[in-house]
């Protein structure tokens, strides 16, 4: 019953949850009936106008949507000066999609809202989630508080250490935060532990996955809930400039903010799409989280996608200054967009992200999260090489309040 055109890039996934060879449902048998139930429940909800109306109401009055599309004038000027200094005349016109202004400070709430309403609809009585930077954990704890459901968040011990403010926020919101010590104590380990909880508490529990990964239908469902970002952007840009943007840019860990921005533009071939992965200390050092640039196809956490892995198919631990990007995989739809060439995937290092973080704070009075600081780092590189009438939208998917301690640490400042 797809309304998209036959040759559309927006029709995926297929019935088996595949985007090309990527995606699928690689889960233990215990979970399989639940995953099938969820698929059906989501299909029903999606077709129910009352469900959509409730999401829209909560998005407006609780989250604060729509988020503004903001012309980053001083950043644009700065990069034009940079272009001029090297003899160029260019410098793209840069817009920020301000999803950091959402309630809870990031795009994560868009997805949590949709999924908690679905969980309620399915009669689930307990919510679990994994979190890396803590943004998804906070957003999940928030909607659980709002809808009166108990919430358990799994978080790696390494991440707990570097994201203390978010841990406290989750606790204030009434969530139980369970430290995960296995592996390197980061996002992938938290996801393993959440899956173990789910397989144990199948009847009561809804697993609220925070990104466009996991078994089908999660990648498609999370993308749908995040697509409000791209849909608003498209409408807002038409109002502001009377045409589509020439390029859209977003950072990628699992890739939910990026998928939300990209998806509504997939069938607009004039729009260039850039995903920015975390290059950590540099892709050549091996210490990075760039699954597409530095990984290969594999199967983890319920789906086939690009993974960081060794020659034996063992999963490698990523590294990034940003806890939110510290994941050895990427959403399967990104893997497919990468192989099909519709989107271009690039990367930014820890150092470049830190520089962009400071630049944005000083020039625009916006302290970005370290995650979109990666996207911004790429923007500062490419914008000066583009003509002045090039319209570029970067998703400012999170605010940097949570990162000020970590950034101070990296800059050698004691607070």
């Amino acid at each position: 019953m797809s309304l998209t055109k036959a040759n559309s890039l927006r029709g995926g996934p297929d019935e088996r949850g595949r985007f090309g060879i990527f995606g699928g449902r690689f889960v233990a048998e215990t979970l399989m009936p639940l995953v099938l139930d969820l698929d059906q429940a989501y299909k029903d909800a999606k077709a129910d106008p009352a469900f959509q109306a409730e999401i829209e109401y909560m998005q407006r009055d609780y989250v604060g949507r729509e988020s503004p599309l903001y012309f980053a004038e001083r950043l644009t000027e700065h990069l034009r000066e940079k272009a001029a200094a090297s003899g160029g005349e260019g410098g793209a016109k840069i817009y920020f999609k301000r999803d950091e202004l959402n309630h809870t400070g990031s795009h994560k709430i868009n997805n949590c809202l949709g999924q908690i309403l679905l969980a309620k609809r399915m009669g689930k009585t307990r919510i679990i989630a994994e979190t890396g930077a803590g943004q998804h954990g906070v957003a999940t704890a928030t909607v659980c508080a709002r809808f009166g459901l108990p919430c358990v968040v799994y978080m790696g011990t390494t991440d707990i250490e570097r994201q203390k403010p978010n841990v406290f926020r989750m606790k204030l919101l009434g969530a139980e935060v369970i430290p995960v010590t296995s592996g390197t104590g980061t996002l992938k380990d938290a996801m393993n532990e959440a899956l173990r909880d789910w397989v144990t508490n199948v009847e009561s529990t809804y697993y609220l996955i925070g990104t466009v990964a996991g078994p089908h239908p999660y990648p498609a469902m999370v993308r749908d809930f995040q697509s409000v970002i791209g849909e608003e952007t498209k409408r807002q840009m038409m109002e502001r400039e009377g045409r589509l943007p020439d390029s859209v840019v977003a950072c990628i860990g699992g890739g939910s903010n990026a998928m939300g921005l990209f998806h509504p533009f997939l069938d607009d071939p004039s729009v260039k799409i850039y995903g920015v992965e975390a290059a950590g200390r540099g892709i050549e050092t091996g210490e990075h989280c760039a699954s597409l640039k530095g990984g290969s196809p594999g199967v983890l956490h319920g789906n086939r996608t690009y993974l960081l892995q060794d020659e034996d198919g063992q999963i490698k631990d990523g590294h990034s200054i940003s806890a939110g990007l510290d994941y050895p995989g990427i959403g399967p739809e990104h893997a497919w967009l990468h192989e099909s060439g519709r989107a271009e995937y690039v990367s930014a290092t820890d150092k470049e992200a830190l520089e962009a973080f400071q630049l944005c704070s000083r020039l625009e009075g916006i302290i970005p999260a370290l995650e979109p600081a990666h996207a911004l780092a790429f923007v500062t590189k490419i914008a000066p090489t583009l003509p002045r009438d090039h319209l570029m939208v970067m998703n400012m998917c999170g605010r940097g309040d949570k990162d000020v301690f970590a950034v101070a640490d990296h800059l050698g400042v004691t607070l």
Binding site: T30, M32, P33, S182, K188, E203, G298, H301, G313, Q314
Partner: protein
């Protein structure tokens, strides 16, 4: 085609007792210790051996088996070495079935065709791959069965009657009933529930049904053996191996013998179960 697994369960049926299925992780804590235990398992009473393929992210496993995978990987375990263990075992035992158990990624990464060729050559009889439900059968299950390997499927308390036929459709060797919803090594199963579940599965298949997850003592093993065609013990044996690792990280002298002694006690529980019930 009759496989070692088919033969073994046919023999067991003939003598009227349940099979004892043991699980250890390949290379835990090192290659030589695993080989020693592996070679001693049939003598200690194991009827079928499950050999775990170590993986960094064992999502369906509890702390014991997670830790065993980590120990093995730290000491250089790999798919190549797992297959080498099987090859070495087969030098002196051509009867005891060996089933490789684990997750799909290391197999996928090696390449399904390459893996199947090497596994058969080494003397592997069957595969249990936790994260390949029937929905993904064309990935490995179908090619493995074509190549002559058994593909053993997990059935769980969440596998209802509507779903069971799909789960059993491409299953061979035996059916592994996971007695609890949960991870390996957690809560122990209730014998009564297990009996009902085995009966339910047998209503859909002629294959033997082995039951596992949470069996820790000879008594529990005996209880399961009265209700099912086989009892699987994993975490308890893996824990016995873990206890043999000293503070210096080295394996204690006599470790293999002590682990096998523990296996022997579990085996005695399984082997005597029906005789005891008949008395």
């Amino acid at each position: 085609m009759t496989t070692r697994l088919d033969k073994r369960f046919a023999q067991l049926k003939q003598i009227g007792r349940a099979g004892f299925v043991t699980f250890i992780t390949a290379g835990d804590p090192d290659f030589d210790t695993t080989l020693g235990i592996l070679k001693g398992l049939p003598g200690a009473g194991a009827d079928v051996i499950e050999l775990g393929m170590p993986f960094t992210d064992p999502m369906a496993d509890g702390p014991s088996i997670q830790a065993s995978s980590q120990r093995a990987l730290r000491n250089g375990a790999s798919m190549k070495k797992t297959l080498e263990l099987v090859r070495r075992f087969r030098e002196s035992d051509n009867e005891t079935p060996i089933v490789l158990m684990g997750y799909y990624n290391p197999i996928y990464h090696m390449g399904v065709e390459t893996f199947l060729g090497r596994a058969i050559e080494a003397g592997v009889d069957g595969l249990i791959v936790v994260d390949l439900p029937p929905e993904e059968d064309d990935e490995l299950c179908v090619p493995a069965m074509k190549a002559g390997l058994n593909f053993i499927r997990l059935a769980t308390p969440t596998t209802d009657d509507k779903r069971l036929p799909a789960v059993l459709a491409n299953t061979s060797g035996f059916v592994y009933y996971v007695s609890i919803t949960g991870i390996t090594g957690s809560a122990s199963p209730q014998a009564r529930n297990v009996e009902a579940a085995v009966k339910r599965i047998k209503g859909h298949t002629d294959l033997p049904v082995a039951v596992g997850f949470g069996i820790k003592t000879p008594e529990q093993a005996a209880e399961i053996a009265r209700a099912a065609d086989g009892a699987v013990v994993g975490s308890a044996i893996v824990d016995a191996i873990a206890r043999e690792i000293g503070e210096d990280g080295k394996v204690r002298n006599g470790a293999v013998e002590r682990v096998l002694e523990f296996v022997g006690k579990l085996a005695a529980g399984v082997h005597a179960a029906r005789a005891a019930a008949a008395e």
